[in-house]
Amino acid sequence: MSNNDKQRDDSRPSVELSELTLLSQDSDIAGSPRTRDQTARVQTEAKSQGKLIRERFFRHKGALAGITLLVLIFILAFSSIGFAGIPGWWDKEYDVLADRFNEGRPTLTLWPFSLGEHPFGQDVLGRDYFALTMRGTQTSLIIAFIVGLVAMVIGTTVGAIAGYFRGWTEAFLMRITDVVITIPTLVIAAAVAGIVAKAGIIPFALFLGVVTWTGLARLVRGEFLSLREKEFVESAKSVGASSARIIFRHILPNTVGVIIVSTTLAISGAILLETALSYLGLGVTAPDTSLGKAINDNRSALTVRPWLFLWPGAFIIGIALAVNFIGDGLRDAFDPKQTRVKQ
């Protein structure tokens, strides 16, 4: 066998490889041992996963725009009217009735820029609509993110355990999931939400999370079922990796795409669910408000007082879009195959 001369041949990468590989190979193999060692030192400090993910995320223009928008909305909503007793810079309260000024029309003008007395106008009762919208944004953000978080944690845990361990564990967990799916959310909500909602926004959000994790659990389980049969999982088992390590280090990172996409959907879904429940009088109750409730209260005003409809609508769209862009960016950031980043 004349394999010997073939040896060097293979050290060159195949044609499918990118230019970068060719370059680094040349510098590494061609140089003398000493210079080779030096170049190696310079360019080969092992990078941590987290750093790579951060780098990829911040190169994603959409995600960057999304996170900027979301942070701005957060700052605006919480600093303007204050939160949990801390006063904000806006001088009006969302639950104070006042005389209507110019039929409650918005006083905001862009050129020349001025906020005026009521930049977003006033509602039929004369409440300042800017303060009301900010309060609604706070509520909706809190609810949406708690629901997303709770659904993600429960759904991923249940799905991962069921998909990885199979057997009776899977049967038991998936039957519970099926039961939760078969009970219509609105019915449970009708029975329980009224009581929970009175306790405050956070218990209400936790409750919504507890009933909406099922879709995620099924998706994650499906991913686990296919990934646990992959050879790299066997390879990890063969070196003695524990179940926890296999789940968290080997399988879970490969399901990040699915988890993030469904979580962003769950967040958008939570805003809508909260709206529906509030409409039925089971969610956020007056005088408190949320974006969904604000739209519902004023849905008949679209033709006569469109601003009552448009401002909260714009904020819902803004939040949902920002969340989706961030989700997109996170998914790509966690995927090492994503070398080209969307511009």
Binding site: T21, T44, G240
Partner: protein, 593 residues
Amino acid sequence: MSSSTVVISDEQTPVHSGPILEVSGLGVEFNVDNEWVMAAEDVSYRIRPGEILAIVGESGSGKSMSSLALLGLLPRNGRCTGSAKMQGNELIGAPQSTLRKIRGNDIAMIFQEPMTALNPVLTVGEQIREAIEQHTELSPADAKKRAIELLLMVEIPEAERRYDSYPHQFSGGQRQRAMIAIALANDPMLLIADEPTTALDVTVQAEVLDLLRTLNKRLNSAVLLITHDMGVVADLADHVVVMEKGRIVEAAPTAQLFSSPTQDYTKQLLGAVPHLGSKVGGVLTDVEVVDGRLELHEEYAEEARRAQAEHSASGVEPALELVDVDIEYPGRFRQPAFKAVSGVSITINPGEVMGLVGESGSGKSTIARAVTGLIRTSGGSISINGTDITTLSARKLKPLRKRFAIVFQDPAASLNPRLSIGDSIGEPLLLHEKLGREELDKRVAGLLDDVQLPIAFRNRYPHELSGGQRQRVGIARALSLRPDLLVADEPTSALDVSVQAAVLELLQDLQRERGFACLFVSHDLAVVELLASHIAVLNKGRLVEQGSTEQVLKYPRDPYTRRLLAAAPVPDPQEQSKRREQRSIILAAGTTE
């Protein structure tokens, strides 16, 4: 080229003296991100009636794409230039409607994977009939008759009954025969066979190649054979075209190409192909054909048996010892449990390489997984350095895992796509030696160096590497804890020949240097011959033969081993044609024995 000729006769020879297909200056390009990337360039060749032309090349050489282009079957982002004339009619740039008439009628195609090329919800017969009805006006009854004749022609037993079978009821070889029947349905003048035997076992491959050869002689249709396997080329082809990176490197008659290749690339390619019998000096030496009958030399057997007895009584504690191992896959519902391995005993001494050979379904991968504690045995014992691992709990087994490691077949699947190369290689070290960051980095760098990869690769991800590089990573990972036993499960079967040669060389060097024992699982006898000092042959879960490499290859005692050895094609046309005769006699003897 009348499409209504459906005369069924063995002697249907088209009256054309010129070439059936004449390709000149064919180029194929793909649009990738608005850039045209060349897949094949300036490809020219011609095929005469009744001729078998082989296009050989490694993956990415453009051999498949340049052939798909003939039929207008390129993916959407592809385009082709140049000219391809089928009996004077231009194919390149012809409208789809014209090409559709030609496809399946004048030019037929056989694909690599018969399971995916056949529709699982239609019976095989219906699919052949469909191919006939597409291009002729035969009545359904006549078409069925013709379909059964085709099944008979491709040597499917009980063709009438098998007409109503579904693809899953056929074996792999039969499915490929059915595919050939579909391809031949309309007496094509040209048959394009794209890696027709790559997915098949060697013994089945030999049968399918025989079938292609006899059909080619009987029907006088030309065959364009696309393959990476030099053995298949040596066995079947009249002319060979060697392609590299989209260009034709060399074209010559088969005998000439193998005996005196002119181009460096061809020489390299031929040099990289493992040649069965090259190390031990010939195979099947104890079998001699005298007057068309099989003659065995019993004196070799005695010697072989003595050598084997000495080996097992050497007194060293074996690195791996399997005693009467049974492995069952549990049944489900009413299915009975499937016994994948039964009563297998193998002994590997420290520092020895044992080749475990068998065809698909023989249980060789199952044994590899059982040895590394990935699946449980249902009987017998597996001892590594004297410790029986079959009775250990997962917790007790864990510290032992340092002592053995496995290299998997498909390097693309066995590396976690989300872990960097450095993390993948470092994982066993992290789990067993609890090293600090700095120490770990140093060890990983050392391992990368051992498998001849640049240290910069530690920050890469598996998808950025080529197949051979990935397998080097797999080897580095397996060797990270300096195991006493390495299990290699077909480590090179997913790789191109030249890459395979390099990876085998690496494995050999590392083995020599570190002296670990190795269980090398493979379906390829030539590869095993190169590496292993001992060979065990498995057939349907049973060990049929075990002994030193020389003994098993030269003086095989078991009829199955003989069949296996006779079926493996060697990259040498003259030798291969001799082996073909030998094989037919061994087969004949096998049936009368």
